[in-house]
Amino acid sequence: MTLEPGTFLFEAWTARFALMNGLWVTMTSSFFSIVLATLAGLLMGVVLSYAWWPLRLLARAYVDFMRGMPVLVLILFTYYGLAMFRINVPPYWAGVIALAAFATAHVAENLRGAVQSVPAGQMEAAKAIGLNFPKRIWYVIVPQAVRRVLPPWVNTCLEIVKGTTLLSVIGVVELLLASQQVIARNYMVIDFYLMAAMIYIVVNFSIAQLGALLERRFSYIRY
């Protein structure tokens, strides 16, 4: 196989560090967004399900707001908005915050659905043996809700990974922007976009596999 300038392999090898850097940024920004969104989403899901009604209303408004907004607008708004208030946040973190804020709404709404789908008899049985409210939630409702919330949660994770491409719009050099910068040098448009696409597919398939593994871990919960 020839490794001359102009061949895909040569160009890919030349650009390997740039691309790997991009992939690293994609992975870390996804990771931080997922962690933040999961923690905040769990909390907000409990608020949506059980909290005192004014709090619940607030959470509901937040969720509906986030679900009616394009992520890109959210990212741009966060980025320019923070900059305007002279809050010095690098684009990377502005993007992570916006993505997490968006995904929080999805995690919360999914959790609420999962909690609601646990049969009412479970709560009653938990009451009947004298468990108090936090214990009923923690030992009886949450384990069952987790199983139901897992598939949509994996989906949200995949959306986040794909959503990190939008950070390129505010100048974060993640995998897509890194690929574009490589393309700008060698004009191998199809090759490098296709390669980026393949990398996203591999990442997403891996996450889906991990998700399936986790789901199997919880598959003993049946009715």
């Binding site: 049985a125 004298g130 468990l131 214990k135 030992y139 199983r147 919960i221």
Partner: protein, 262 residues
């Protein structure tokens, strides 16, 4: 059997919206007694049971357990609702078995029994496991302690549910139509467990449509009709000498089904 009154209900009323389901229920359960509630569906039996365990809040009248009012305390001559913690503590003194079993699907049979022991009574894991093993043995499921609910038949699930309730050593055990969701061939194993408990002196308040069982095991039978106690008495009084017309009609349907056995 002692004469001490364990559960005392006086004028218990409960409405759902504009529908008055309980129109003043008076009822005593003495220590060690088995009291059965019979009546057509919609007569308020289940609602009364749920009020006793605070799954519903009664609107009027008193329910006293060991003399303490359930769900509220009286301060300055007015009722104050008990805190969540107090309500949970009261519930822990009353066991309940449900029509639909309501076993926790994410826990094994043993885990189901242990949950209340560890998280409510604060027992250690090892002790809780011993107690759970003991009671699962008693309901004939010692060998199934590691099974998840979906791996058990309906009758077995209901026996685990009974073990879960009894293991808490409640003062009173409530049974809410516990055999109604079971296939006919599985009813006997559950009733057998209940009968054994009754013979050992467990205080029980039972809602059931199993008239043979009610007649055999109860010390006292209460016939409820349209939210009231229409007639109450010993099994013999209720089944052999019914006075209330509605009770006669109600029993007539069972006689038609089972002949004169009931």
């Amino acid at each position: 059997m002692s004469d001490q009154v364990l559960l005392q209900a006086r004028g218990v009323r409960k409405s759902f919206g504009t529908v008055e389901v309980l129109k003043g229920i008076d009822l005593d359960v003495r220590q060690g007694q088995v009291v059965s509630l019979i009546g057509a569906s919609g007569s308020g039996k289940t609602t009364f049971l749920r009020c006793v365990n605070l799954l519903e809040e009664h609107d009027g009248g008193d329910i006293l357990l060991d003399g303490d009012p359930i769900g509220y305390r009286v301060a300055d001559g007015r009722r104050k609702r008990l805190s969540e913690t107090k309500v949970s503590a009261q519930r822990a003194r009353i066991g309940m078995v449900f029509q639909s079993f309501n076993l926790f699907p994410h826990l094994t049979a043993e885990g189901n029994v242990m949950l209340g022991l560890t998280k409510v009574l604060g027992k250690g894991k090892a002790e809780a496991r011993d107690i759970a093993g003991h009671w699962l043995d008693r309901v004939g499921l010692g060998a199934r302690r590691g099974h998840y609910p979906y791996q058990l038949s309906g009758g077995q699930q209901q026996r685990v549910a009974i073990a879960r309730a009894v293991a808490m050593q409640p003062r009173l055990l409530l049974f809410d139509e516990v055999t109604s969701a079971l296939d006919p061939e599985l009813v006997a194993e559950v009733l057998g467990v209940m009968q054994k408990l009754a013979e050992e002196g467990m205080t029980m308040l039972v809602v059931s449509h199993e008239m043979l069982f009610v007649r055999e095991v109860s010390h006292h039978v209460v016939f409820m009709d349209q939210g009231r106690v229409a007639q109450a008495g010993s099994p013999a009084e209720i089944f052999d000498r019914p006075e209330n017309e509605r009770l006669k009609g109600f029993l007539g349907r069972f006689h038609a089904m089972f002949g004169q056995a009931v």
